[in-house]
Amino acid sequence: MLKAHNIHKSYKMGPSELRVLRGVGLSAERGEFLVIMGSSGSGKSTLLHILGALDTPDQGSVEFGGRRLFDMPTSLREQFRNREVGFVFQFYHLLPELTVLENVLLPALVKHSFFSWFKNRSDTRRAAAKMLDRVGLLQRVKHRPAELSGGERQRVAIARALINSPSLLLADEPTGNLDASMGADILNLLTELNKDGQTVVMVTHDPVVAKRAHRVVSLHDGEIVEPEMVSSGLLPA
């Protein structure tokens, strides 16, 4: 479903160049739970952003469902980001002015034009309620993010990522800012979602977290190192 090929990305640091990704190749299958590991600063976030078309590589290509992301016009790439991918970030990144429900609805608001929003409003609201129920926050819809704990915020962010039913969920250290038990909650939630068929690509540098994955790849010196560790072998046939 997702194929990255020979991705290069470097940042200019004054006269010198910081080559973060040097020919990364990677693929994820439908229904897979893939974890990308690597030490801090190894370029995991950079890679994830490129996979989600948030950033552009200097070289290389990303294919999604047979289409090359970086050959698409910008508007299609924006649509891809809106409908095909859901992002979950380490720092939740909720909008503080909006309530929990409104935050969850935001990608749907982005998706719809003014008129189609009013046409689809009740369906979308129902979907949002279902998502919030799923993450266990149906009682908190009217609250603002500031009134929630970190774990709750991250669950709102997950609900938001899933509101448009994307085929791919990209999570960048979703537990990085949480204590162990909250982190475990989030991981359980992601695992459950994956069991229901959601493709998940997650970045972490925590080997414990990585244990939940079907497959783990490592980023080292800007290149993907062969799978060094395969989990319980639950890879779908």
């Binding site: 809106n82 909008l95 935001l106």
Partner: protein, 528 residues
């Protein structure tokens, strides 16, 4: 959809937006006030000029006037029956106005009119005070002082003609407020010396015995209202003459050549019959009206015997013409001009050299022509002042720009989030422009409201200020010709200013909106 939603949400959750709203609304109010006051001023100039002159004025810019006016009036009515409705002569002269009972003397413009026709050609009749409450009793004929007295039954009443006229007015008046206002007017005064009718705040003098008419009959005069009233520091007017008071004017008759003729000075004693309110300060503070024939005679503008035994012709200074309903101003003017040329040619044989000189300089003008310079000046002033205030309002644009710049700076992360969720650069820019538009709309509505409130009460506000300190009386009637600041806001002006404000705030948000569109989501999202 998210643009509208977020714009709306930011509008009422971000306090900073209210600074933008306040700036926009103040600018809107300011421009609207200026536009309305200047526009109202301009409109007053227009309507009042028309009310003052009627449609067409023929004059030759001399004090000695021109002859043959009666003949031309007849000629017009015969030749242009479909164009001309009515024509009436008026004499303009200058004199010194005096109230013998006091020491008041002022220079005055004295106008000789045929009251009935003059009131039909112009809107003169509408501004008369006594005529309003006692219809049919104002006249320029010889008259005595009407005096209130006690009837047999002991009631204080005016002579029965006046009481009857007032009853008629009460019966016909449809506005109960007007009757209330009248009933509050000071009515009569007790036992002021009847010889002069000098009074304070009262409309009529009161005598001992029965109501009736007293003292010598003198020609009537209608006075500009500011000759009769005087303005208190708090802006109220008080009357200092009662009807019938003796007033005097000293005149300066001129011969056909413009020399002071006769045995100057000529004195004319009159009775104050009514006062006229045109709303134009120069007129109301200077002008008085007397009977055309009386003034013509006093000024020796009626036929006079020459040394050789021939007679001069009667002269007037102005011929005021009212056009028939539906006749265009310039069309009427052209027809009258043509008729005038024909008339001069037809009568060339009977005119003497003096007549021809006076007639040759007669101009036919519309009321617009007469006021053109003034109207054009006011128009320019309106444009100038409005542009100046519009320029000052650019401050609001800059302010909106600053406020939005701050918002974009603070919201960089959120912009990144929206973009990560699929929001386009253009959509994010549109979000901020829509946000600014919303600020503009709220500001414009508030500003229009504020501006209207201010304009509608501008005279009260000024009176209030003047009560605190007379120096704060900004509107000076002698400078602006009108005794009140215009109080009308035109819908079109309000809409126009409001729309401009909305556009201006959107323009102000453009630079920040572009900055927002350029936010690179990855950078914005990397850190908390």
């Amino acid at each position: 959809m998210y643009k509208w939603f977020l714009a709306w949400r930011y509008l009422h959750t971000k306090l900073i937006a209210f600074f933008g709203v306040a700036a926009v609304s103040l600018c809107v109010a300011m421009v609207l006030v200026v536009l309305s006051v200047m526009g109202g001023f301009l409109d007053s100039v227009r309507t009042r000029s028309k009310g003052l002159f009627g449609d067409i004025v023929m004059a030759n810019a001399t004090l000695q006037g021109f002859p043959m006016y009666q003949e031309f009036t007849d000629y017009l009515l015969k030749e242009l029956p479909d164009t001309v409705a009515l024509s009436t002569p008026a004499i303009n002269s200058y004199g010194v106005f005096r109230v013998p009972a006091t020491t008041q003397t002022v220079p005055t413009r004295i106008m000789g009119i045929c009251l009935d026709d003059y009131a039909r050609v112009t809107e003169f009749g509408e501004g008369l005070h006594y005529e309003r409450y006692y219809p049919g009793t104002t006249s320029l004929e010889k008259q005595q002082i009407p005096v209130a007295g006690h009837t047999a039954s002991g009631k204080l009443e005016l002579p029965k003609e006046l009481e009857e006229a007032n009853r008629q007015w009460r019966a016909a008046e449809t506005n109960p407020k007007a009757i209330e206002t009248f009933d509050e007017l000071p009515y009569v005064t007790v036992a002021y010396p009847l010889t002069d009718g000098y009074s304070s705040e009262r409309m009529f003098a009161e005598g001992l015995g029965e109501p009736g008419y007293r003292n010598k009959a003198l020609p009537g005069a209608i006075l500009g209202c500011d000759l009769v009233f005087y303005r208190n520091a708090d802006g109220r007017f008080s009357r200092h003459l009662a009807r019938g008071a003796t007033v005097a004017v000293t005149l300066m008759p001129l011969s056909t050549t413009g020399n002071v003729g006769g045995e100057p000075p000529v004195k004319l004693l009159m009775r104050y019959s009514d006062d006229s309110h045109t709303g134009i300060f120069e007129v109301d503070s200077l002008q008085m009206y007397v009977d055309f024939q009386t003034l013509q005679h006093k000024l020796a503008m009626d036929p006079q015997e020459r040394m050789d035994g021939t007679m001069t012709r009667a002269r007037t200074n102005q011929l005021l013409i009212k056009l028939k309903e539906g006749v265009g101003l310039n069309e009427g003017k052209a027809a009258i001009q043509a008729a005038w040329m024909e008339f001069l040619v037809l009568n060339a044989g009977v005119l003497d050299a003096y007549d021809i000189r006076l007639l040759g300089s007669v101009r036919v003008s519309t009321w617009e022509d007469l006021q053109r310079d003034f109207i054009a000046a006011v128009e320019k002033e309106k444009v100038l002042v409005t542009s100046l205030f519009g320029l000052i309002s650019m401050v609001a644009v800059v302010l909106v720009g600053c406020i939005f710049y701050m918002i974009v700076e603070k919201k960089t992360r959120d912009i990144g989030i929206v973009k990560a969720l699929g929001g386009s650069a253009r959509g994010v820019a549109a979000l901020f422009v829509a946000y600014a538009g919303a600020v503009g709309i709220v500001g414009a509505i508030l500003g229009v409201f504020l501006g209207c409130l201010f304009v509608w009460n501008v005279n009260d506000i000024q009176d209030l200020l003047a009560q605190l300190n007379p120096q704060l009386r900004i509107w000076s009637p002698d400078v602006y010709s009108f005794d009140k600041i215009p109080e009308v806001v035109k819908q079109a002006d309000a809409v126009w200013v409001g729309v401009m404000a909305i556009v201006a705030s959107m323009v102000g948000s453009l630079v920040p909106a572009i900055l927002a569109a350029r936010v690179w989501p990855v950078k914005a999202l990397r850190y908390e």
